[in-house]
Protein backbone atom coordinates (compact mmCIF):
# COMPACT_ATOMS: atom_id res chain seq x y z
CA UNK A 1 0.00 0.00 0.00
CA UNK A 2 1.01 3.61 -0.47
CA UNK A 3 0.94 6.25 2.26
CA UNK A 4 1.81 9.93 2.04
CA UNK A 5 4.16 10.96 4.83
CA UNK A 6 2.85 14.52 4.61
CA UNK A 7 -0.56 13.26 5.76
CA UNK A 8 0.18 10.81 8.56
CA UNK A 9 0.02 11.51 12.29
CA UNK A 10 3.12 12.36 14.26
CA UNK A 11 3.20 9.16 16.36
CA UNK A 12 2.58 6.90 13.37
CA UNK A 13 5.81 4.88 13.58
CA UNK A 14 6.02 4.67 17.37
CA UNK A 15 4.85 1.03 17.71
CA UNK A 16 5.89 -0.27 14.31
CA UNK A 17 8.94 -2.32 13.43
CA UNK A 18 9.49 -3.83 10.00
CA UNK A 19 11.61 -6.72 8.83
CA UNK A 20 13.33 -4.70 6.12
CA UNK A 21 13.49 -0.98 5.46
CA UNK A 22 14.35 -0.13 1.84
CA UNK A 23 15.38 3.48 1.25
CA UNK A 24 14.70 4.56 -2.33
CA UNK A 25 11.85 3.76 -4.72
CA UNK A 26 13.80 3.37 -7.95
CA UNK A 27 14.54 0.24 -9.99
CA UNK A 28 16.61 -1.41 -7.23
CA UNK A 29 14.25 -0.47 -4.39
CA UNK A 30 11.06 -1.53 -6.16
CA UNK A 31 12.57 -4.85 -7.32
CA UNK A 32 13.87 -5.57 -3.85
CA UNK A 33 10.63 -4.65 -2.05
CA UNK A 34 8.48 -6.82 -4.32
CA UNK A 35 10.83 -9.79 -4.02
CA UNK A 36 11.17 -9.44 -0.24
CA UNK A 37 7.42 -9.16 0.26
CA UNK A 38 7.11 -12.87 -0.52
CA UNK A 39 8.42 -13.44 3.00
CA UNK A 40 9.06 -10.19 4.87
CA UNK A 41 7.29 -7.04 5.96
CA UNK A 42 8.85 -4.17 4.05
CA UNK A 43 8.81 -0.43 4.47
CA UNK A 44 9.78 1.33 1.24
CA UNK A 45 10.77 4.99 1.63
CA UNK A 46 10.51 7.23 -1.43
CA UNK A 47 11.52 10.89 -1.26
CA UNK A 48 9.24 12.02 -4.08
CA UNK A 49 5.64 11.32 -4.99
CA UNK A 50 4.11 9.52 -7.96
CA UNK A 51 4.92 12.44 -10.26
CA UNK A 52 7.76 14.90 -10.77
CA UNK A 53 7.81 17.83 -8.33
CA UNK A 54 10.24 20.70 -8.00
CA UNK A 55 10.36 20.32 -4.20
CA UNK A 56 11.70 16.79 -4.51
CA UNK A 57 13.86 17.20 -7.62
CA UNK A 58 15.66 20.26 -6.25
CA UNK A 59 17.06 18.05 -3.47
CA UNK A 60 19.29 16.53 -6.17
CA UNK A 61 21.16 19.78 -6.73
CA UNK A 62 24.93 19.58 -6.52
CA UNK A 63 28.14 20.81 -8.10
CA UNK A 64 30.55 19.42 -10.69
CA UNK A 65 34.19 20.20 -10.10
CA UNK A 66 35.88 17.67 -12.40
CA UNK A 67 35.41 17.01 -16.09
CA UNK A 68 32.43 18.62 -17.72
CA UNK A 69 29.35 16.61 -16.66
CA UNK A 70 25.56 16.83 -16.63
CA UNK A 71 23.67 18.97 -14.12
CA UNK A 72 23.32 16.72 -11.06
CA UNK A 73 19.64 17.69 -10.71
CA UNK A 74 19.00 16.64 -14.31
CA UNK A 75 20.96 13.42 -14.65
CA UNK A 76 18.54 11.46 -12.39
CA UNK A 77 14.92 11.70 -11.27
CA UNK A 78 13.60 11.88 -7.72
CA UNK A 79 10.11 10.37 -7.69
CA UNK A 80 8.59 6.91 -7.55
CA UNK A 81 10.26 4.77 -10.23
CA UNK A 82 13.46 6.85 -10.04
CA UNK A 83 15.49 7.35 -13.19
CA UNK A 84 13.51 4.68 -15.05
CA UNK A 85 11.05 7.55 -15.53
CA UNK A 86 13.28 9.02 -18.24
CA UNK A 87 15.52 6.25 -19.48
CA UNK A 88 15.74 4.68 -22.93
CA UNK A 89 15.90 1.16 -21.53
CA UNK A 90 18.91 -0.27 -23.33
CA UNK A 91 19.42 -3.53 -21.55
CA UNK A 92 21.89 -6.38 -21.44
CA UNK A 93 23.69 -8.37 -18.74
CA UNK A 94 27.33 -7.60 -18.09
CA UNK A 95 29.79 -9.78 -20.00
CA UNK A 96 31.13 -12.80 -18.06
CA UNK A 97 34.66 -11.42 -18.46
CA UNK A 98 33.60 -8.19 -16.69
CA UNK A 99 33.67 -10.29 -13.51
CA UNK A 100 37.18 -11.61 -14.11
CA UNK A 101 40.20 -9.75 -12.75
CA UNK A 102 42.10 -7.53 -15.17
CA UNK A 103 45.57 -7.04 -13.68
CA UNK A 104 46.19 -3.87 -15.70
CA UNK A 105 43.03 -2.28 -14.22
CA UNK A 106 45.03 -1.72 -11.02
CA UNK A 107 42.28 -2.85 -8.68
CA UNK A 108 40.70 -6.14 -7.60
CA UNK A 109 37.49 -6.69 -9.53
CA UNK A 110 34.27 -8.31 -8.46
CA UNK A 111 34.27 -10.78 -5.52
CA UNK A 112 31.45 -12.64 -7.30
CA UNK A 113 31.30 -14.32 -10.71
CA UNK A 114 28.83 -13.89 -13.55
CA UNK A 115 27.53 -17.37 -12.63
CA UNK A 116 26.31 -15.96 -9.29
CA UNK A 117 23.87 -13.75 -11.21
CA UNK A 118 22.87 -16.30 -13.86
CA UNK A 119 20.04 -17.80 -11.75
CA UNK A 120 18.31 -14.41 -11.97
CA UNK A 121 18.47 -13.97 -15.75
CA UNK A 122 14.98 -15.23 -16.47
CA UNK A 123 13.31 -13.38 -13.59
CA UNK A 124 15.12 -10.19 -14.62
CA UNK A 125 13.80 -10.49 -18.18
CA UNK A 126 10.30 -10.90 -16.78
CA UNK A 127 10.59 -7.87 -14.51
CA UNK A 128 11.94 -5.76 -17.36
CA UNK A 129 9.24 -6.99 -19.77
CA UNK A 130 11.75 -8.49 -22.21
CA UNK A 131 10.35 -11.30 -24.32
CA UNK A 132 13.30 -11.79 -26.69
CA UNK A 133 15.92 -14.12 -25.25
CA UNK A 134 18.71 -13.02 -27.58
CA UNK A 135 20.95 -10.37 -26.17
CA UNK A 136 24.52 -11.14 -26.98
CA UNK A 137 24.97 -13.01 -30.19
CA UNK A 138 27.09 -13.26 -33.25
CA UNK A 139 24.43 -14.22 -35.72
CA UNK A 140 25.99 -13.85 -39.19
CA UNK A 141 22.56 -13.23 -40.70
CA UNK A 142 22.42 -10.07 -38.61
CA UNK A 143 25.84 -8.97 -39.72
CA UNK A 144 25.37 -6.25 -42.31
CA UNK A 145 28.35 -7.38 -44.30
CA UNK A 146 28.04 -11.14 -43.77
CA UNK A 147 31.70 -10.95 -42.94
CA UNK A 148 33.56 -11.57 -39.70
CA UNK A 149 35.13 -8.49 -38.16
CA UNK A 150 38.04 -10.28 -36.58
CA UNK A 151 38.39 -9.92 -32.82
CA UNK A 152 34.97 -8.28 -32.54
CA UNK A 153 31.48 -9.71 -32.16
CA UNK A 154 28.28 -7.96 -32.96
CA UNK A 155 25.96 -7.50 -29.99
CA UNK A 156 22.34 -6.62 -29.65
CA UNK A 157 20.96 -4.56 -26.79
CA UNK A 158 17.30 -4.83 -25.85
CA UNK A 159 15.27 -1.69 -25.86
CA UNK A 160 12.61 -1.80 -23.18
CA UNK A 161 12.11 1.62 -21.59
CA UNK A 162 9.85 0.27 -18.88
CA UNK A 163 8.64 2.90 -16.41
CA UNK A 164 8.94 1.12 -13.08
CA UNK A 165 6.65 3.57 -11.26
CA UNK A 166 3.43 3.12 -13.25
CA UNK A 167 4.26 -0.54 -14.00
CA UNK A 168 4.72 -1.71 -10.41
CA UNK A 169 2.66 0.80 -8.37
CA UNK A 170 -0.51 -1.37 -8.58
CA UNK A 171 1.36 -4.41 -7.21
CA UNK A 172 2.72 -2.38 -4.33
CA UNK A 173 -0.71 -0.85 -3.69
CA UNK A 174 -2.19 -4.35 -3.42
CA UNK A 175 0.57 -5.80 -1.26
CA UNK A 176 -0.26 -6.39 2.39
CA UNK A 177 3.43 -6.70 3.18
CA UNK A 178 4.78 -3.50 1.63
CA UNK A 179 4.15 -0.08 3.12
CA UNK A 180 5.51 2.50 0.67
CA UNK A 181 5.74 5.98 2.15
CA UNK A 182 5.90 8.78 -0.41
CA UNK A 183 7.54 12.14 0.35
CA UNK A 184 9.69 10.33 2.93
CA UNK A 185 13.16 11.87 2.79
CA UNK A 186 15.96 9.92 4.44
CA UNK A 187 18.02 12.33 6.53
CA UNK A 188 19.94 10.19 9.01
CA UNK A 189 20.91 6.62 9.87
CA UNK A 190 21.11 6.11 13.62
CA UNK A 191 23.53 3.54 14.97
CA UNK A 192 23.32 1.45 18.11
CA UNK A 193 26.70 -0.26 18.33
CA UNK A 194 27.47 -1.89 15.00
CA UNK A 195 23.86 -1.92 13.81
CA UNK A 196 21.45 0.64 12.43
CA UNK A 197 18.70 1.15 15.02
CA UNK A 198 16.49 3.38 12.92
CA UNK A 199 16.44 5.61 9.92
CA UNK A 200 15.28 9.19 10.44
CA UNK A 201 13.02 10.57 7.74
CA UNK A 202 11.42 13.95 7.16
CA UNK A 203 8.35 15.11 5.28
CA UNK A 204 8.10 18.38 3.36
CA UNK A 205 6.47 20.09 6.34
CA UNK A 206 9.66 19.58 8.33
CA UNK A 207 8.35 16.86 10.65
CA UNK A 208 10.78 14.08 11.61
CA UNK A 209 9.99 10.39 12.09
CA UNK A 210 12.07 7.38 13.14
CA UNK A 211 11.52 4.15 11.21
CA UNK A 212 12.68 0.94 12.88
CA UNK A 213 13.50 -2.31 11.13
CA UNK A 214 15.63 -5.39 11.52
CA UNK A 215 17.56 -4.78 8.30
CA UNK A 216 18.14 -1.63 6.25
CA UNK A 217 18.95 -1.28 2.56
CA UNK A 218 20.09 1.91 0.85
CA UNK A 219 18.89 2.00 -2.75
CA UNK A 220 19.11 5.72 -3.39
CA UNK A 221 21.33 5.74 -6.50
CA UNK A 222 25.03 6.01 -7.27
CA UNK A 223 25.34 9.60 -6.07
CA UNK A 224 22.87 9.60 -3.18
CA UNK A 225 24.06 6.35 -1.56
CA UNK A 226 27.52 7.79 -0.81
CA UNK A 227 26.03 11.21 -0.07
CA UNK A 228 23.80 9.92 2.75
CA UNK A 229 26.59 7.71 4.17
CA UNK A 230 28.99 10.67 4.26
CA UNK A 231 26.35 12.96 5.76
CA UNK A 232 25.71 10.51 8.60
CA UNK A 233 28.76 11.66 10.54
CA UNK A 234 27.20 12.36 13.93
CA UNK A 235 28.22 8.99 15.39
CA UNK A 236 31.05 8.15 12.99
CA UNK A 237 32.92 11.33 12.06
CA UNK A 238 34.11 10.06 8.64
CA UNK A 239 30.59 8.87 7.79
CA UNK A 240 29.06 5.42 7.95
CA UNK A 241 31.00 2.69 6.16
CA UNK A 242 33.84 5.08 5.44
CA UNK A 243 36.54 3.76 7.77
CA UNK A 244 38.90 3.32 4.82
CA UNK A 245 37.95 6.57 3.07
CA UNK A 246 36.33 4.68 0.18
CA UNK A 247 32.73 5.92 0.27
CA UNK A 248 32.13 8.03 -2.83
CA UNK A 249 35.44 7.09 -4.48
CA UNK A 250 35.76 5.29 -7.83
CA UNK A 251 32.78 7.10 -9.36
CA UNK A 252 32.45 5.56 -12.81
CA UNK A 253 30.37 6.39 -15.84
CA UNK A 254 30.13 4.99 -19.35
CA UNK A 255 31.79 7.62 -21.53
CA UNK A 256 29.82 7.91 -24.82
CA UNK A 257 32.09 9.66 -27.29
CA UNK A 258 32.25 10.16 -31.02
CA UNK A 259 35.64 8.79 -31.93
CA UNK A 260 35.64 9.24 -35.66
CA UNK A 261 33.95 8.50 -38.94
CA UNK A 262 33.65 5.60 -41.36
CA UNK A 263 33.91 5.34 -45.11
CA UNK A 264 32.09 2.32 -46.51
CA UNK A 265 33.22 0.11 -49.38
CA UNK A 266 30.91 0.05 -52.38
CA UNK A 267 27.96 -2.22 -51.73
CA UNK A 268 28.27 -2.10 -47.94
CA UNK A 269 25.35 -0.49 -46.15
CA UNK A 270 24.75 0.34 -42.51
CA UNK A 271 21.16 1.50 -42.34
CA UNK A 272 20.81 0.61 -38.68
CA UNK A 273 23.26 1.21 -35.88
CA UNK A 274 25.54 -1.78 -35.32
CA UNK A 275 27.29 -2.46 -32.04
CA UNK A 276 30.55 -4.39 -31.82
CA UNK A 277 32.46 -5.50 -28.78
CA UNK A 278 36.03 -6.80 -28.63
CA UNK A 279 36.74 -10.38 -27.61
CA UNK A 280 38.17 -10.95 -24.11
CA UNK A 281 41.42 -12.07 -25.79
CA UNK A 282 41.72 -8.77 -27.61
CA UNK A 283 41.01 -6.83 -24.39
CA UNK A 284 43.80 -8.69 -22.58
CA UNK A 285 46.25 -8.42 -25.48
CA UNK A 286 45.75 -4.66 -25.71
CA UNK A 287 45.54 -4.13 -21.93
CA UNK A 288 42.23 -2.30 -22.25
CA UNK A 289 38.92 -2.21 -20.41
CA UNK A 290 35.65 -3.43 -21.87
CA UNK A 291 34.22 -1.29 -24.61
CA UNK A 292 31.74 -1.26 -27.47
CA UNK A 293 31.91 0.47 -30.84
CA UNK A 294 28.76 1.71 -32.46
CA UNK A 295 28.61 2.71 -36.10
CA UNK A 296 25.94 3.88 -38.46
CA UNK A 297 25.65 5.31 -41.91
CA UNK A 298 24.52 8.93 -42.14
CA UNK A 299 20.88 9.37 -43.08
CA UNK A 300 19.94 10.40 -46.58
CA UNK A 301 20.98 9.08 -49.97
CA UNK A 302 24.62 8.37 -50.58
CA UNK A 303 26.03 10.56 -53.39
CA UNK A 304 26.41 8.73 -56.67
CA UNK A 305 27.92 9.38 -60.09
CA UNK A 306 29.66 12.72 -60.60
CA UNK A 307 28.96 13.99 -57.06
CA UNK A 308 30.53 10.90 -55.53
CA UNK A 309 33.59 11.16 -57.78
CA UNK A 310 33.96 14.84 -56.91
CA UNK A 311 33.62 14.17 -53.19
CA UNK A 312 36.21 11.40 -53.26
CA UNK A 313 38.64 13.61 -55.14
CA UNK A 314 38.08 16.46 -52.70
CA UNK A 315 38.49 14.27 -49.65
CA UNK A 316 41.83 12.89 -50.85
CA UNK A 317 43.80 15.58 -49.06
CA UNK A 318 43.23 18.05 -46.26
CA UNK A 319 44.40 20.93 -48.48
CA UNK A 320 41.92 20.09 -51.24
CA UNK A 321 39.11 19.65 -48.71
CA UNK A 322 39.81 22.97 -46.98
CA UNK A 323 39.98 24.79 -50.34
CA UNK A 324 36.71 23.23 -51.52
CA UNK A 325 35.03 24.13 -48.22
CA UNK A 326 36.18 27.75 -48.58
CA UNK A 327 34.76 27.92 -52.11
CA UNK A 328 31.52 26.20 -51.08
CA UNK A 329 31.12 28.15 -47.84
CA UNK A 330 30.17 25.07 -45.83
CA UNK A 331 31.78 21.87 -44.63
CA UNK A 332 32.08 18.76 -46.78
CA UNK A 333 31.29 15.41 -45.18
CA UNK A 334 33.99 12.95 -46.21
CA UNK A 335 32.63 10.18 -44.02
CA UNK A 336 29.72 7.92 -44.82
CA UNK A 337 28.86 7.51 -41.16
CA UNK A 338 29.94 7.97 -37.58
CA UNK A 339 31.73 5.80 -35.09
CA UNK A 340 31.10 6.09 -31.35
CA UNK A 341 32.64 4.39 -28.40
CA UNK A 342 30.88 3.44 -25.17
CA UNK A 343 33.55 2.51 -22.73
CA UNK A 344 34.08 1.05 -19.31
CA UNK A 345 35.76 3.49 -16.95
CA UNK A 346 38.83 2.57 -14.96
CA UNK A 347 38.78 2.18 -11.17
CA UNK A 348 40.05 5.63 -10.27
CA UNK A 349 39.90 6.76 -6.62
CA UNK A 350 40.32 10.39 -7.71
CA UNK A 351 36.99 10.22 -9.53
CA UNK A 352 34.56 10.68 -6.67
CA UNK A 353 31.45 11.99 -4.99
CA UNK A 354 32.18 14.29 -2.05
CA UNK A 355 30.18 16.68 0.11
CA UNK A 356 30.02 20.43 -0.53
CA UNK A 357 29.33 23.19 1.95
CA UNK A 358 25.85 23.96 0.58
CA UNK A 359 22.99 22.56 2.67
CA UNK A 360 19.66 21.29 1.39
CA UNK A 361 16.33 22.09 3.09
CA UNK A 362 16.90 19.25 5.59
CA UNK A 363 20.39 20.43 6.54
CA UNK A 364 22.24 17.73 4.54
CA UNK A 365 25.36 18.75 2.64
CA UNK A 366 24.90 18.69 -1.14
CA UNK A 367 26.97 16.39 -3.35
CA UNK A 368 30.05 17.53 -5.24
CA UNK A 369 31.06 15.35 -8.16
CA UNK A 370 34.68 15.25 -9.29
CA UNK A 371 34.44 13.09 -12.43
CA UNK A 372 37.86 12.12 -13.75
CA UNK A 373 39.04 10.04 -16.67
CA UNK A 374 42.62 8.86 -16.80
CA UNK A 375 45.29 7.44 -19.09
CA UNK A 376 43.81 3.95 -19.09
CA UNK A 377 40.44 5.34 -20.16
CA UNK A 378 41.92 7.13 -23.17
CA UNK A 379 44.19 4.19 -23.97
CA UNK A 380 41.10 1.94 -23.98
CA UNK A 381 39.25 4.16 -26.45
CA UNK A 382 42.28 4.63 -28.75
CA UNK A 383 43.31 1.01 -28.94
CA UNK A 384 39.73 -0.19 -29.39
CA UNK A 385 39.19 2.19 -32.31
CA UNK A 386 42.57 1.36 -33.85
CA UNK A 387 41.99 -2.39 -33.75
CA UNK A 388 38.38 -2.02 -34.89
CA UNK A 389 39.54 0.15 -37.79
CA UNK A 390 42.05 -2.52 -38.81
CA UNK A 391 39.46 -5.31 -38.57
CA UNK A 392 36.93 -3.19 -40.44
CA UNK A 393 39.37 -2.58 -43.28
CA UNK A 394 40.61 -6.17 -43.15
CA UNK A 395 37.05 -7.41 -43.69
CA UNK A 396 36.73 -5.04 -46.69
CA UNK A 397 33.90 -3.17 -45.00
CA UNK A 398 35.50 0.25 -45.36
CA UNK A 399 37.89 2.55 -43.52
CA UNK A 400 37.77 4.23 -40.11
CA UNK A 401 38.97 7.76 -39.39
CA UNK A 402 40.09 8.57 -35.84
CA UNK A 403 38.94 11.90 -34.38
CA UNK A 404 41.61 14.50 -33.65
CA UNK A 405 41.08 14.47 -29.88
CA UNK A 406 41.66 10.71 -29.87
CA UNK A 407 44.92 11.02 -31.82
CA UNK A 408 46.09 13.67 -29.38
CA UNK A 409 48.50 12.23 -26.79
CA UNK A 410 47.22 14.54 -24.04
CA UNK A 411 44.40 13.60 -21.69
CA UNK A 412 41.83 15.59 -23.64
CA UNK A 413 38.20 14.47 -23.94
CA UNK A 414 35.16 16.04 -25.57
CA UNK A 415 32.70 17.87 -23.31
CA UNK A 416 28.96 18.38 -23.26
CA UNK A 417 28.86 19.21 -26.97
CA UNK A 418 28.80 15.42 -27.36
CA UNK A 419 26.58 12.75 -25.87
CA UNK A 420 29.39 12.47 -23.30
CA UNK A 421 28.14 9.72 -20.97
CA UNK A 422 25.24 7.44 -20.18
CA UNK A 423 23.86 9.03 -16.98
CA UNK A 424 25.07 5.84 -15.26
CA UNK A 425 26.40 6.50 -11.76
CA UNK A 426 28.40 3.53 -10.60
CA UNK A 427 31.00 2.10 -8.22
CA UNK A 428 30.79 4.71 -5.42
CA UNK A 429 30.20 2.06 -2.71
CA UNK A 430 32.01 -0.77 -4.44
CA UNK A 431 31.65 -4.44 -3.70
CA UNK A 432 34.96 -6.06 -2.71
CA UNK A 433 36.48 -9.04 -0.96
CA UNK A 434 38.06 -6.87 1.70
CA UNK A 435 37.17 -3.56 3.46
CA UNK A 436 40.47 -2.14 2.18
CA UNK A 437 39.10 -2.26 -1.36
CA UNK A 438 35.40 -1.61 -1.05
CA UNK A 439 32.44 -0.59 1.06
CA UNK A 440 30.23 -3.69 0.80
CA UNK A 441 30.97 -7.41 0.81
CA UNK A 442 29.87 -10.04 -1.71
CA UNK A 443 26.37 -10.02 -0.13
CA UNK A 444 26.13 -6.23 -0.47
CA UNK A 445 26.40 -5.78 3.31
CA UNK A 446 28.51 -2.88 4.48
CA UNK A 447 31.71 -4.16 6.06
CA UNK A 448 31.32 -2.09 9.22
CA UNK A 449 27.57 -2.12 9.95
CA UNK A 450 25.96 -5.50 10.47
CA UNK A 451 22.43 -4.80 9.27
CA UNK A 452 23.08 -2.21 6.55
CA UNK A 453 23.03 -3.28 2.90
CA UNK A 454 23.40 -1.28 -0.30
CA UNK A 455 21.65 -1.94 -3.62
CA UNK A 456 22.00 -0.45 -7.09
CA UNK A 457 24.91 0.35 -9.36
CA UNK A 458 26.91 2.04 -6.59
CA UNK A 459 27.99 -1.48 -5.51
CA UNK A 460 29.37 -2.41 -8.93
CA UNK A 461 33.05 -3.30 -8.72
CA UNK A 462 33.42 -2.77 -12.48
CA UNK A 463 30.88 -1.26 -14.81
CA UNK A 464 31.66 -2.98 -18.11
CA UNK A 465 30.36 -1.13 -21.16
CA UNK A 466 26.74 -2.23 -20.87
CA UNK A 467 23.98 -0.08 -19.40
CA UNK A 468 23.67 -1.05 -15.74
CA UNK A 469 19.95 -1.61 -15.16
CA UNK A 470 19.77 -5.28 -16.13
CA UNK A 471 22.55 -6.04 -13.64
CA UNK A 472 20.92 -3.82 -11.00
CA UNK A 473 17.77 -5.95 -11.20
CA UNK A 474 19.73 -9.23 -11.12
CA UNK A 475 21.68 -8.09 -8.07
CA UNK A 476 18.56 -6.83 -6.30
CA UNK A 477 16.94 -10.24 -6.73
CA UNK A 478 20.08 -11.91 -5.43
CA UNK A 479 20.13 -9.57 -2.42
CA UNK A 480 16.43 -10.26 -1.79
CA UNK A 481 17.17 -14.01 -1.69
CA UNK A 482 19.96 -13.42 0.81
CA UNK A 483 17.73 -11.30 3.06
CA UNK A 484 14.81 -13.73 2.78
CA UNK A 485 17.04 -16.49 4.10
CA UNK A 486 17.59 -14.32 7.19
CA UNK A 487 13.86 -13.69 7.61
CA UNK A 488 12.32 -17.12 7.35
CA UNK A 489 8.94 -15.81 8.52
CA UNK A 490 7.65 -12.24 8.95
CA UNK A 491 8.70 -11.03 12.39
CA UNK A 492 5.88 -8.58 12.79
CA UNK A 493 2.20 -8.62 12.06
CA UNK A 494 1.60 -7.72 8.47
CA UNK A 495 0.61 -4.25 7.57
CA UNK A 496 -3.16 -4.35 7.92
CA UNK A 497 -3.07 -1.74 10.67
CA UNK A 498 -0.62 0.70 9.03
Amino acid sequence: MFLDLNRIESGHFRDRRFDVCVCGGGVAGITLALALAQRCSVVLLEGGGHEYSYDSQSLYKGRNVGLEYFDLAGTRLRFFGGSSNHWEGWLCPLDPHDFEPAPYAGHPGWPIAAADLDPYLEATRTILDISDDRCVGNDPTRNPWHREVEGFREIKIWSSPLRFGPRYAPQIERSARIACYLHANVIDLRLAGDRIANVRIADYRGRRFDVRAHTFVLALGGIENPRILLNCNRQRPAGIGNQHDLVGRYFAEHPHMTVGGILLEDGVRLDKMRIFSPSPQLLRREGILNVSLRCRQKRGPRPEGFKATLRRATCKSDLLKRSAETLRGSSIACDDGWLKVVSEQSANPQSRVMLGEELDRFGLRAPVLDWQLNTLDKHTMRQAVLRFGEAFAGADCGRVRMAGWLMDDSLSFPGLEQELAGHHHMCTTRMAGSPRHGVVDANQKTFSVNNLYIAGSSVFARGGHINPTFTIVQMSLRLADHLKRMHRAPRVALLDDV
Partner: protein, 45 residues
Protein backbone atom coordinates in the same frame (compact mmCIF):
# COMPACT_ATOMS: atom_id res chain seq x y z
CA UNK B 1 55.79 32.32 -17.49
CA UNK B 2 54.82 28.89 -16.22
CA UNK B 3 51.99 29.17 -13.71
CA UNK B 4 52.07 27.22 -10.45
CA UNK B 5 49.31 24.96 -11.73
CA UNK B 6 51.14 24.42 -15.03
CA UNK B 7 54.35 23.64 -13.19
CA UNK B 8 52.61 21.07 -10.98
CA UNK B 9 50.96 19.47 -14.03
CA UNK B 10 54.35 19.25 -15.78
CA UNK B 11 55.96 17.81 -12.66
CA UNK B 12 53.18 15.24 -12.29
CA UNK B 13 53.60 14.27 -15.93
CA UNK B 14 57.37 13.84 -15.57
CA UNK B 15 56.96 11.78 -12.41
CA UNK B 16 54.40 9.48 -13.98
CA UNK B 17 55.74 5.99 -14.49
CA UNK B 18 56.15 5.24 -18.18
CA UNK B 19 53.31 2.69 -18.06
CA UNK B 20 50.88 5.35 -16.88
CA UNK B 21 51.51 7.54 -19.92
CA UNK B 22 49.57 7.11 -23.12
CA UNK B 23 51.26 4.63 -25.37
CA UNK B 24 51.90 5.88 -28.89
CA UNK B 25 49.42 4.73 -31.52
CA UNK B 26 50.98 1.80 -33.30
CA UNK B 27 49.04 0.23 -36.18
CA UNK B 28 49.69 -3.42 -37.00
CA UNK B 29 52.13 -4.29 -39.81
CA UNK B 30 49.58 -4.34 -42.64
CA UNK B 31 48.10 -0.94 -41.70
CA UNK B 32 49.11 2.69 -41.54
CA UNK B 33 47.64 5.82 -40.02
CA UNK B 34 47.31 8.63 -42.54
CA UNK B 35 45.66 11.87 -41.38
CA UNK B 36 43.69 9.82 -38.87
CA UNK B 37 42.53 7.25 -41.44
CA UNK B 38 43.35 3.65 -40.60
CA UNK B 39 44.45 2.47 -44.05
CA UNK B 40 45.69 -0.79 -45.51
CA UNK B 41 49.22 -0.55 -46.82
CA UNK B 42 47.79 -1.44 -50.27
CA UNK B 43 45.67 1.74 -50.17
CA UNK B 44 48.85 3.76 -50.42
CA UNK B 45 50.44 1.80 -53.24
Amino acid sequence: MLTRRGFLALLAWLLLPAGARLRPLAPSDQFRLVNGWICKRDDLA
